[in-house]
Amino acid sequence: MADVMEKFFEPKSVCVIGASSTPGKPGNVVVKNMRDAGYKGDVYLVNPRGGEIEGYKVYKSIDELPDNIDQAVVTLPASLAPETVRALGAKGTKAIVLAASGFSEVDHVGEALQDELIAAIRESGARVLGPNTTGHVSVPSSYTSSFFPLGDIPRGSVSYITQTGNFCGISLRHIMSAENYGIARSCGLGNKADLDECDLLEYYGYDDQTKSIFMYLESIKNPKRFLRVARRVSQKKPVFLLKGGASDAGAAAAVAHTGSLAADGRVVDGAIEQAGVTRLRKYSHLFQVAKALDTQSLPRGNRVSFLSPSGAFTVCLTDICRSLNLEVPDLEDKTCERLQEFAPPFIRMRNPVDIFGSVGLVGYEKAYGDALDAVLADRNIDAVVVIMMLTTETGIPKMDFIVDLSKKYPSKPVYVTFMGEHQHNVAAKEYLEPKGIPCYMLVEEPFEVLSLLASCRKNMPVR
C-alpha cells in the first residue's frame, strides 16, 4: 500500500489519458498544471489523434505507451472509465486518477457504471482515486493531477483530505492568494470507488512531508477502519475534521430510548471524539487553523496571554477566551514587575496586557517588544496573541521584533491580529506571514484557533 501511495504522491512518470489541445478542457489544463507546478518526471500524453500538445509528444493509444508508468490521469468520459482502467492495469500502471463525473453521484445508470468500474479496478490491480475528483496535489514532488488551473503552489507542511474538489481547486486558490502558508499534499476523494479517507489518512500519517492533517468529509466509507486508523495517526500528528452534512438518523422505531437518542449524528460525534480527531465547525477554520500549524508549533495547553491596545479588548476578549475554554491566567510576579517598568504607574500591568500606556511612554516597538518577550518567557503562558494598533497617525512600527521573539520561543505560538486601518493591517499580514507569523484579520479568530489547538493537544500524548 505504501508503494502505491508513493506512486500517487511522488510519481516518477505520468500519463494523461484524454489529453487535449483545446485550452480550458480538463485534458489540457491538467497538462499545463503539471508543467506550471514544475513537475520534473516523465509526462506521456494519449489522444487518438496523436501529434503534439503543449510541447509533449502524443501517443495514439494506451497500448503504445511504455510499460509501468507510475501514474495515469484519466480525463475521458465516464463511460470509458472501466475499459481504460483495465488497459492501464495491463500496462502495469498502479495509480490511476479518474476525473470524470457521471457515476453514482448522478443516477441509477451512473451507479451501474460505478459498479462496473469497481469490478474493473479489482481486475486491474491498480488503485484508483475518484471518480468525480478534481484530482490531487503533491507540492514536494511539484506535482498535481488537478484540472483546475493552479500554478505554482507554495510548499508547506499541511495536508488535506477532502470529499470535495475545493482543496485542489477554488479553496486552494483562496489559500494561494489570500494566505501565506504552504501545503504538502491535498487530495479530493471524489466518489471513493476505491481509495477512501482511511487510505489517505494512513499515508499522511507516515508521510514525513505532512505535519498536520485537515479533513473535510461528508461521509465515512469504512467507519470502523476510520476509527482505528484515525486513532493511531492522531497520536502522532494533529488531525482535524470538518464533517459536512447531517448524519444518518437513528433507528426511528426503536423500542428502547437509546435508539431514538442515537440520532442527529451523535454516534459519529462520539466516534470522532474517540478517534482523537479534533472537530472543526467552520469551513474557514480549514485555513485558519492550518495556517497556525504550518509555521508555528502546537501550544502545550490552553493558557493564553494577549497584548491589547484597548481596554475593551482586554475585557471582551477575556470573555471570549472563557467561552472558548481558554485560560487567561495570572502572570508570574517577575513578569508583572518587568511589564510595570515601562508602563505608566496608574496602569496595573497584568494578563491580559493593556499596552496602550506603555506605547505612549516608551514607543511602539519597545512597548510591544518588551511586553511580548516578558509574556513569552512566563511559565504560566502557552501562547500569545499580539493585537496591533495600526494607523497612519500613530505610526507603523517595524515588525521584525515579532518574528525574532517568535523564533526565540519556538514552543510558544505567537499570532497577530489587528485593529486600525485596513490597508496597514493587510500590509502587516503580507509582511509577517511569509516570515512565519500567522495573522488574523478579525480579533476573535486567533483565539478560536488557539481553542481548537488546545483541544487537539489534549488528544495527543504528553511530550
Binding site: I220, P223, K224, L227, D248, G250, A251, A254, V255, A256, H257, T258, G259, L261, A262, R266, V267, V268, D269, G270, A271, E273, Q274
Partner: protein, 237 residues
C-alpha cells in the same frame, strides 16, 4: 458467565420474546459486572411477602414481564413500600392493572434512594456497530437529551471522556452535600455494556435507566434489553 447469559438469551428467543424482562435484562448485565438493585422474582402475594423480608423494607414492587417495557406508563410500579400492609395493597393494585390475562411475574426490589439519576444505553449503529450511550437518566433523558455516545469496545479513557462530555457532567461531582460519584464503577459499567453488545450480536439495544447514584455508587434500578428480529441481524461487519 457467558453460558448463563447464553441460557437467558436462548430461553427468551425460544419463547418468542422481543425483549428480555427487567429481571432477565439485569441478570445479563449483572453477569458483566454492572451493579444492579437487590431483587427477587415472585409470582404470588405470599412469595412477595417473603421476598420483601429478605430484601428489607422499604421495597419497590413492579410487574415484570417481557411484554411490559414501559411499566411506569401503565402504573405497574409501586415505590417506597414501607410495610407488609403497603406491599399487599400494592400487589393487589398492580395485579388488577395488569389485567386478568397477565401471565408475567412480579419483582420485589430494594428501594434505592438517591436524587441523581443517570442512564447507560447501547444502540447498534449501522456504520460503527455497537455504540454505548451515557447521559442524564430518569425523566431528564427525553427532556434534555443530554447524552453522549462512544463506539464499542470502550477503553477506560473513552469511558472517562464520556462521563465528562455531557452538559450536565457536574451531576457526578460533589454537589449539594452529596459525595462525588464513584467514576470507576461508572466506567466499568460503560465498558461492560459495550462488551455485552460485542459478545451477543443478537442483542439489538440496551437501556439501563435509571441508574441511581446511592451515596457515591451507581446502581441499575431498571433495565431493558431488546433482541434483534433475527439472530443474523445483530452481526455487522
Amino acid at each position: 458467565m457467558a453460558t448463563r447469559v447464553e441460557r437467558i438469551l436462548k430461553g427468551a428467543r425460544a419463547k418468542g420474546q422481543k425483549t428480555l424482562s427487567e429481571y432477565e435484562s439485569k441478570l445479563v448485565l449483572a453477569a458483566y459486572g454492572v451493579p444492579i438493585s437487590r431483587e427477587v422474582l415472585v409470582s404470588t402475594q405470599s412469595e412477595a411477602k417473603a421476598a420483601a423480608k429478605k430484601v428489607k423494607y422499604p421495597v419497590v414492587l413492579k410487574g415484570c414481564s417481557a411484554d411490559e417495557a414501559h411499566k411506569t406508563e401503565k402504573g405497574l410500579i409501586a415505590v417506597n413500600l414501607g410495610s407488609q400492609a403497603a406491599l399487599v395493597e400494592a400487589f393487589k393494585t398492580i395485579s388488577k392493572r395488569a389485567g386478568k390475562n397477565y401471565d408475567g411475574a412480579f419483582l420485589v426490589q430494594e428501594m434505592v434512594s438517591g436524587s441523581r439519576e443517570i442512564m447507560i444505553g447501547m444502540h447498534r449503529d449501522a456504520s460503527f456497530g455497537p455504540a454505548v450511550m451515557f447521559g442524564l437518566g430518569g425523566i431528564f433523558t427525553e427532556i434534555l437529551e443530554d447524552v453522549t455516545f462512544r463506539v464499542a469496545p470502550l477503553r477506560k479513557k473513552d469511558a472517562r471522556d464520556m462521563l465528562r462530555s455531557i452538559r450536565g457532567h457536574k451531576i457526578l461531582g460533589a454537589v449539594r452535600g452529596m459525595p462525588a460519584a464513584d467514576l470507576d464503577i461508572l466506567c466499568h459499567a460503560l465498558m461492560a455494556v459495550g462488551q455485552v453488545a460485542l459478545d451477543h450480536p443478537e442483542i439489538e439495544e440496551i437501556d439501563i435507566n435509571p441508574l441511581i447514584i446511592r451515596g457515591s455508587k451507581a446502581v441499575a434500578v431498571d433495565a431493558l434489553i431488546v433482541l434483534s428480529d433475527s439472530e443474523a441481524d445483530g452481526t455487522s461487519s
